[in-house]
Symmetry: C2
Subunit: 299 residues, 2 copies
């Protein structure tokens, strides 16, 4: 299979990234981050999450962030809406695309969202229905697709079953997340083969964490399987909530660098992306998690 000619990056730094940083940042800094990212050419940014600020203080002010950003034509600005209340808040903030997430592991589902996989999928039914009524698109996430912090190995068939349910429920795309970053390229290819038999590959995306340094190898393995949508986080924002000091989301800069080297069109200006990452890293007072950014700034 030839490599895809184009890849679409789903930038999750402002949501998945910032949500897992210890320090909440201001609405103004979030707005600046999102605008920096779209100025760099990102066509999809997950901007925030409509959850209780009591539970996730890092995501407080998501409505204000949506109101503050310069919404550019052709760019998708999405929000996580884990329940109906969150969906309604997203709707009130004029969000046009939301994301929902389920786990591929029962133990993770129970500990992370306090219900079974099947119960979590049931909760999405009214969201999907309301989304259809309001012309809002819904993207689905499946977590723990290549391993679970509580169960260890996760069966690809189980991932496929959850992904298929989300797809049949109306998610136009399902992103498969290696939440703990334990996956390796062979397992990644096997996963897309198994899930790809249940959900058409053009509707699948890869979401890799670099906790074990495997993320880009897994992205390359996914490209070889024809996958052409990947989630990533500028400056590697997010770290790994399960391993202190370890890496989390793969850095967008490192992903773009590899894709450019492969001759794959992303529409992204790497230098501006690096600058966006440097700025948010400074706000957080942390070193960038992007190796490309570190190498460039050291030169």
């Amino acid at each position: 299979m030839p490599l895809p000619a184009k890849v679409r990056l789903v930038e999750v730094g402002p949501r998945d990234g910032l949500q897992n940083e210890a320090q909440p940042i201001s609405v103004a800094d979030k707005v600046r981050l999102v605008d920096d990212l779209t100025d760099a050419g990102l066509s999809y940014v997950e901007v925030g999450s409509f959850v209780s600020p009591k539970w996730v203080p890092q995501m407080a002010g998501s409505a204000e962030v949506f109101a503050g950003i310069r919404q550019q034509p052709g760019v998708t600005y999405a929000a996580l809406a884990p329940n109906m209340r969150g969906f309604e808040d997203a709707l009130a903030a004029r969000v046009k695309e939301v994301a929902v997430f389920a786990a591929a592991s029962e133990a993770f589902s129970q500990r992370n969202i306090n219900c079974s996989i099947s119960e979590s999928l049931q909760r999405f039914v009214p969201i999907m229905e309301a989304a259809r009524q309001h012309g809002v698109r819904v993207r689905g996430y499946v977590s723990c697709v290549l391993g679970c912090p509580y169960e260890g190995e996760v069966d690809a068939a189980q991932v496929a079953a959850v992904a298929r349910e989300l797809y049949e429920m109306g998610c136009y795309e399902v992103s498969l997340g290696d939440t703990i970053g334990t996956g390796t390229p062979g397992a990644t290819r096997h996963l897309f083969n198994v899930v790809g038999a249940q959900v058409p590959r053009p509707h699948l995306a890869g979401h890799f964490h670099d906790t074990y340094g495997q993320a880009l190898a897994n992205v390359y393995a996914s490209l070889l399987e024809g996958i052409n949508v990947f989630d990533s986080s500028v400056a590697g924002l997010g770290g790994c909530p399960y391993a202190k000091g370890a890496s989390g989301n793969v850095a967008s800069e490192d992903m773009v660098y590899m894709l450019q080297g492969l001759g794959i069109d992303t529409g992204i200006d790497l230098e501006r992306l690096i600058a966006a990452g440097q700025r948010i890293s400074a706000v957080l007072g942390r070193a960038t998690g992007s190796r490309v950014a570190r190498a460039r700034n050291a030169c």
Copy 2:
């Protein structure tokens, strides 16, 4: 092409790694490192370098290190011997395998070893001859195979010409080094295709730096091209001499983790390898460069 069933790792931490660390360490610490590595199952360790300690203080005492290590059967203990004087010193230390290195870029050759590529190859002729006489095996390195800090892009045909000369001169294996870590998987596959037409693939090895986070993706790309020998450095020792604070050699731990995930036999005990990396990182007073080690120790 199916993936190789076995991979041999060439551990370069004690030489390529320590040589690029700011702080020289004691002979006793070097001996301990080499013994730790072979106890972990490494079958090939580059132990030191026979160069003037005036120029490379980090490599002082290499003869003492060779005298101090527990030489285990079936393990290759190699040394860098950049010139005839170094080769004679290696011989006196009863070294059975040496390495020589040339660059694929003229500018790098001039700036790094102060002579043209062709002159550097000429210098190896008497070493190769003496090595044959004394039954010493010689491994060749080619640096800057996927980019040069001075010239930028490097032609794969140029790499192939240098690799072929080293092979025809008598190097039983030629390791292709992405010295500045700018290579990406497509360029890596192209490289092995071009060089593989001049030197049989079983006599080629890959040496990747993680400066831009691409090393493991490049290793996976190389495996897909049938390459089954890779250089790596425990704890990512070495950093990147061309980019302060950036990564250098790919960490052996991260490599072994990926290979194990791919079901490829390396003969290495990952837990003992991680322990060896933690110990030497403590000696150097630096954080490990291995993401696997960081993730494991955070759990």
